[in-house]
Symmetry: C2
Subunit: 217 residues, 2 copies
């Protein structure tokens, strides 16, 4: 286990080295949240390149709101990338607790259960927020600056991939949740709904991007 406390302060280069190391933290949960955060940043960029341009004046108010929402989601996803790493670090630590006696096993099971709840909630929230980023990308694709329409498309692709990746990270944790944890019952339906949203949202955004690419080619 490394020191996951300053993940987003690492350079991009150092973060990728850490991600690829034998340390399981950070892993796919943080990478998924960061992919969706890049999607949110791209929505904000497309909005920035649209606001104040006379050709897009009719959408000014909508695009300002999209920018605001994208910046908020970017910050939350960055935070969730860190939370995912912190939570999974606790799971790994709990699994390393001794299990020689009945008392030790009980303490270990309780610690693993508590840590797993946090390690499940972080990617579940990341999947929800990634879905919101996908909505923003889908909305800006048809009305944002045409020169940046590929950026709106990349935003949708990264949000959808981040959503699906976060869902995988929830799924792998579900069997290790404490039996009395309500998430165990509520999560599966929520995950199916989120995955369906990723499919629908990405297809809609990409169709809008393709329309605008063709219109000018």
């Amino acid at each position: 286990m490394g020191d996951p406390t300053q993940l987003t302060e690492l350079s991009v280069h150092a973060f990728l080295e850490r991600l690829g190391s034998s340390d399981p933290v950070p892993g796919g949960g943080s990478a998924s949240a960061l992919a969706a955060a890049m999607g949110a940043a791209l929505v904000a960029m497309v909005a920035e390149l649209t606001i104040g341009r006379p050709a897009y004046a009719q959408h000014e108010e909508t695009v300002r709101k999209l920018r605001f929402d994208a910046i908020e989601r970017r910050a939350e996803l960055l935070d969730l990338a860190q939370q995912d790493a912190d939570a999974y670090d606790l799971v790994v630590r709990a699994r390393h607790m001794p299990k020689d006696s009945e008392a030790e096993r009980a303490a270990r099971n309780a610690a693993v259960g508590t840590a797993t709840i946090a390690a499940t909630r972080a990617p579940l929230r990341a999947a929800v927020v990634a879905g919101e980023v996908l909505d923003l990308a889908e909305r800006i694709a048809p009305i944002g600056n045409r020169n940046a329409v590929s950026d709106a498309g990349v935003a949708a692709l990264l949000a959808a991939a981040g959503l699906r990746g976060a869902v995988l990270n929830v799924r792998i944790n579900l069997p290790y949740l404490p039996a009395d944890e309500p998430l165990g019952d509520s999560a599966p339906g929520e995950l199916d709904r989120l995955e369906a949203k990723a499919t629908r949202g990405a297809a809609a955004a990409m169709a809008a991007v393709a329309d605008r690419l063709e219109a000018t080619n």
Copy 2:
């Protein structure tokens, strides 16, 4: 236009702020390459968590090779994220050149054309390398450490999204290539082939991940 020379030395946090700014550089091309680089890093991590474990000894040699290949792809994609930013920065600079006289317009057109070739080659190469990362993810998903199978899945998702995002960045540039540039003829077929690969590879990797998640639930 900002200073794109030290993109991967920025902190993750600062990179995301720069990505979301009104500066068109870095944009979706760099973000796509970085998403695929995260995928490559995750393949390397899954390999690290598999190598030397008795339960996976039968795949040791294969997994060592996958790790080596993943680390190479991660480095190249990081480099391509920078190349994409540098190349697009030159396109933006060329578009700002004066176009008041016939001579100025000719010089500007030539500069835009040359810069567009570089700005097309970088994402085209990124799409090819992202496709290679997808192959690696597909190969490690069924044989890597089962505890990290969701990471193999995220690797595939990010590689596929990076591939598709890079393809979009090639497509948006195609109409601006000089008429005599061979890429204009060869790229469309290549892009279709790469997108088909993203669809097939991501589906295959996710099926392998789902199989292994179900086998232990």
